[in-house]
Structures are given as C-alpha cells and as structure tokens.
Symmetry: C2
Subunit: 370 residues, 2 copies
C-alpha cells in the first residue's frame, strides 16, 4: 500500500473520523483508524460500535491496500506535518507505515486490518434527503432536552417520527419536553425511531457546512445513516417505544405572556448566579401586570432579583423552576420575542416562538415552600 | 458604606484582584475581597498570605466604609451586571450588601472586615523603577526553568540579583538553567533575593499594558512589591541562598551550531509527538555536517525523524535530551537564529540568542544506551 495526498484533506478527514475512535481499552482495534487505498480514493473508517464514520478523499495511489493505525497518533502526526503533500507507504514485513512530508519522517506501528469491523452500508426501510440546516434545526431544538440517566435509555435519545410529509423530533427527561416539526413538499415515508443523543451531537459537530447541502438519510428499525459531502455516518438506534409525549402538552392556559427573548434570557442567566449555589438550582418567576419578576436566594450567599417588562394577560402566576430548564430552552429560541402559557403554580409552563408553531417546549415546575 | 462606580472599572479590577483570592478552606476570610470606600476611591484587596493585591478605582462615595464579600460571587455578579453604572450599599444590621445596576438587584452576605488581613505598604531596602516590558522579559526568559518540587523551595523561585546598574534573573531545577541580564543607565542598588515563580507568573498575567509603563519595585530581605497603573502587588520571598549557578555554565565548547529558531522548534515539536509516549520524553539530536538530525522512538508507537539544515563547526555530537527542556527554551528565544555550544554527549548544551549575550540557557543531557 502506497499513496500520496494533500496534508489538508488528510488532516481534515482524520479530525472528523477521530470522533468515532473508541477510547475504551477493551478493544484495542477500535482505537485505530482503518485506511483503504484504491481507485484514486483513500477511505478512512473509525467506529466504536455505536457510531461509525467513513470519509473519502482523493489520493494518488501507487499501490492499493488496507491498514489500521493508532487513531490518536495518526491524527496528531498528520496535523503537525510541515509540507503540503503527505507520502504514505506500508511495509508488510515489519508491519509499519512510513509517513513522510518535506523533511519529516514518521514510522507508526500498524494493527491487523482484518480485525477491524469495517462499517457496512445501510440499506434502510425508508430513505430521504433533507437540507443540512433543516436537519440541524430539528436536532438542536430537541437534543438538549434529552435525559442523561443511562438506566432509562429511551430518554437518552431523540424520538424521530417521519409521517408522510412531516418529520417530528421530540426529547424529554420526564421533567421537560422539546418538540420540533418540519414539513416537506413530498412524502418521505413512515417510521418511528429513537436516535441516541450522542449520535445527534456528533452529527452537529461534523455537519458544519455553511452553504446548504443535501443530507441523505436512511433508516431501518435499528440503524440510521447520514451521507453528505464526503462523509458517511451510521449509528445504532435505541430500542423501545417512546412514551406518548402529546399528553404532557398542556391543552389549556389561563395566563399568556409575551416577552423579549434576549432580555429575559440575560436576566435569568444573572439570577442563576445565585440559584446555582442552592441544591436544586431554583429560580422563582412571578408573572403579573406588565412584568416578570425573577428571583433566587441562597442562605449562604444572598439573593438576586430581576424585573423584565412583559405583556401579561390573565391572572398573576407565581411559579418556580430549575433554572437550567428555562435557560436551555431560551438558548434555542430563534425569535426576538417568545410566549409563555401558564395555568397555576403547579402546572407545566409552555414556551413557544413568536409566530412559529413548529417548536414547543414544556417545563414542569418545582414545588417550593415559599 | 455606599458608592457608585462604572461597571467596567469595577469588573476589571475584580478580575485582577481575584487572582489573589485564596481557594483554601481553612481561612474563610481569605476567600473574600475587601472593599474600602473613601476619598472618591474604591480600594479592593485580596490576599492568600503569599501574594497580596490591591486595586484602586474612582467611585462616587455617598458614605465611606469597609466590608468583605465572597470574592467568587462578587466577581461573577459584577461581571454579568447589565448596566454601565453599579450602585453599592451596605446594610450593617443585616450584614448584607445591595448591588444594583439597571433592573438587576443582588444582595450578598458580608464577612467581618476587621478579620481581613489588610495588605501593609512595603518600605523596602531598595527601590527602583523599571519599564514593564523589560521586567516581563526578565521574568519570561527565566521563570519557565524553575523547579516544581515543593520540598526544595529554593528551586521553585527565580533568583534576582540587583548589582549596581544590572539586574540578573536566574532559574534552575538542577537539570537546566536559564539566565537573563538587563543593564540600566543608573545604579539601582544591591540585593539578592528569590521570588516565588507563582508570584512572577501572576505578575505576568496582570501586567498586560501594551504601551510601556513604569513599574515601581521595592524589595526587602523577605518581601517584594510591584506598583503600576492602579495596581499594587506584594509577595513574600523564598528564604535561603541560591546555589552558585555560574559554575554549571560550560566554559568551553568544541562544536558550535547556528540554526533557524522556528524551523528547529517546529521539528522538535513534531518529534515530541513520539517522545511524549516514552517514559523520559527523550529526543536524540545528532549535529553533523550542515544539519541537525532529530529523532525519537517508542516501542509501542513507532518513531520520528527530522532533518533541519544548520551551520555546524567542530566534531559531530550525538546527544539526547528530555524534549521539554529543548522546546521550553526555544519558545523563549526571540531571535530568528540561535546558537548551540556543545562538547560531548554527556556535557551540557548551551543555547544563546544570535547577537544577544544577555540570555543564556543550559540543559543537561540524558544518558541513553543507544
């Protein structure tokens, strides 16, 4: 095996692929990156059995072949190489690879490529194409609401329901819920799956194109794949059925509030300086005539109070939340103004974007003594 | 006590002063920042008994006084305040301070100011003024060579010898030595002291003015102070006598090398990718006709080789070092070219800047089997 390619392409694709390199010690082969040179293409693969990543770049191939190298060292070495072109050659007898660029020469020990679990191409039950910015939005607006408790795996992923011309994503940790819907021109198919939040967060990291690109999605009952640019990503899905989240969305509200998103967000952020030091990170919100009063207190530190003007229709409501459940949602509101719907101090709060019904967030309040 | 001041001045000075706030639990009062309002000036103090910091800013004082507040919370709260002006008032009965800016209102619990060890003004045995950039250079070019072993405190500081019109700073960990000298127009006095490396690193962090400013230095046998802009910093000194470092500077050399600093530095940096994984971080340097060959190997990872062209006068030398002892020095070389003076593979290497005799670095080689 022998090839040369640009340092830039090699380094960029290694940076992406490295995200699937396993840091677990049990399976040394998974700490490696699989390289396959053939047909003027260098293919790079890494997998931790949960997520698999493939990148392809152009290379001048003198002799085809496949090897596996330590992901960590290969990435660091290539990133630091001085020249524009990297020359790579594998020496079977010694099981070493030579990596050369200008006056730099590295020799890295190789692993056995036949031990590497190469990533199979997924032929899913449904296949559709979606613009990256639409997919990013579906993910960003829901994934933050996932749970982190590994003993309840269903809640550590985002539910995705493809139903004809709509995709709905939903995430909940039982105390809060985020739901985002997108509508398309033509039917995409029908499927209900739960995608691990780790997969979606990795996808957000990798899918960074600023000009809109097509992402080809394929889903089966236990796997999903995303293909875009020169990248192919696969992931296992979470088994189980997602709870009927519709029933936690409040149907009625007596108090409706409209407020400037960034003003309210900054105020909550400041009050959180104090709430952070109390056990449950509790902030109190009081919605009354023309304003929201935000406060928190900590017996050891002191207290914080903020007033933000708002349009408040309906009876006064005093309610308390884990501050994080409010700040997380506000970070994902893209409209200048947002609306809250409330009932009483023990009923959930609903947050929506102004003039946009495709996003919805529900937070359960905290019962307090005051 | 009641005053108002600009948020910017208050936040900036708190950020500086916070560097001396103690994180140790034993003395709760040292986790506080002492505030004193008087004569249109707000004075802020923090100390961990090793280092003391005072900052002064302009304030409109309605009622003078002094209090102590949690350093951590005061800094975070003021930094996040929304307005340009901060109004501050102390309520003695409840022992709380109100901090207000626009619609934000914080209340922080106060500590007893009489418990705070306010920082005395140092009247040293010698006093001199030095430009900040000259002082920065003296520190930067030596402090990195200090030891970290607290059981040998002398080596955890920089030796400073003021001798008439010269200041010499030197630091060593017994395996390497850095010495920097500056000459002045008029005599500064005479003193020999050891300044803790922590003090000098903090001073580098705080002394950030980009236009040259005067730093007023005062030293006694066990204390030093630095005054510049609105900042006053004091520090204890390390007791003991510094070893005669002059005797470790090689007097003779048989091989003299001139090399491009950044080319050599980048090459050593790349070779370190491999050496880092071996126990003693060893790189090998081979100086011969017109080049330096740099290499390292690790039985588990592989090896690295680099060639950098150089002017080499004298017999070939093969020598090995802890890579960090070379990269640390190269980072502090300011000239495009630097020179190495060598004898044999077990004699120390001397590094100098081209055309500048005021800096000198000596590194002891490592004995290897190869």
């Amino acid at each position: 095996m022998e090839f040369s390619c640009t340092k830039k392409d090699f380094a960029n694709s290694l940076q992406i692929i490295s995200r699937a390199v396993s840091s677990k010690q049990q399976m040394p082969i998974l700490s490696g990156i699989y390289l396959k040179a053939d047909n003027n293409t260098l293919e790079l693969q890494a997998t931790d059995y949960e997520i698999g990543l493939i990148a392809k770049i152009h290379a001048d191939i003198t002799s085809p072949g496949q090897i596996v190298l330590s992901g960590r060292y290969l990435q660091e070495v290539v990133r630091k190489l001085p020249g524009e072109i990297v020359t790579f050659s594998f020496h079977r007898e010694e099981s070493i690879a030579n990596i050369q660029s200008n006056q730099s020469k590295f020799t890295l020990l190789c692993m056995n490529p036949s031990e590497f679990p190469t990533i199979p191409f997924l032929e899913g039950d449904i296949n559709f194409t979606i613009k990256n910015n639409i997919l990013q939005n579906l993910i960003k607006k829901t994934v933050f609401a996932c749970g982190t408790d590994e003993s309840r795996p269903i809640f550590t992923g985002c539910y995705m329901e493809v139903n004809g011309i709509t995709i709905t994503m939903a995430a909940t940790n039982m105390h809060r819920l985020a739901v985002k819907t997108e509508t398309f021109n033509s039917p995409l198919g029908n499927i209900k799956i739960i995608i691990p939040s780790k997969t979606l967060n990795e996808l957000l990291h990798i899918m960074t194109s600023e000009i809109p690109i097509d992402v080809h999605v394929s889903c089966s009952h236990n796997k999903i794949s995303f293909a875009f640019d020169n990248i192919y990503m696969t992931s296992r899905l979470i088994e189980g059925s997602f709870p009927n989240y519709q029933k936690v969305i409040p149907k009625e509200s007596s108090t409706k509030v409209k407020i400037n998103t960034s003003e309210f967000s900054s105020a909550v952020d400041r009050v959180s300086l104090i709430s952070r030091s109390n056990e449950y990170n509790i902030i109190r919100l009081s919605f009354s005539n023309g304003q929201v009063h935000i406060s928190s207190n900590s017996p050891e530190i002191g207290n914080a109070e903020e007033i933000v003007s708002a349009s408040v229709e309906g009876p006064e409501v005093n309610i308390a939340f884990n501050a994080k459940y409010i700040t997380d949602a506000l970070k994902n509101i893209d409209t200048e103004e947002c609306s809250f719907a409330l009932q009483q101090s023990l009923n959930p709060l609903t947050i929506r974007e102004k003039g946009n019904d495709t996003f919805l967030y529900v937070a359960t309040p905290v019962r307090t003594n005051h």
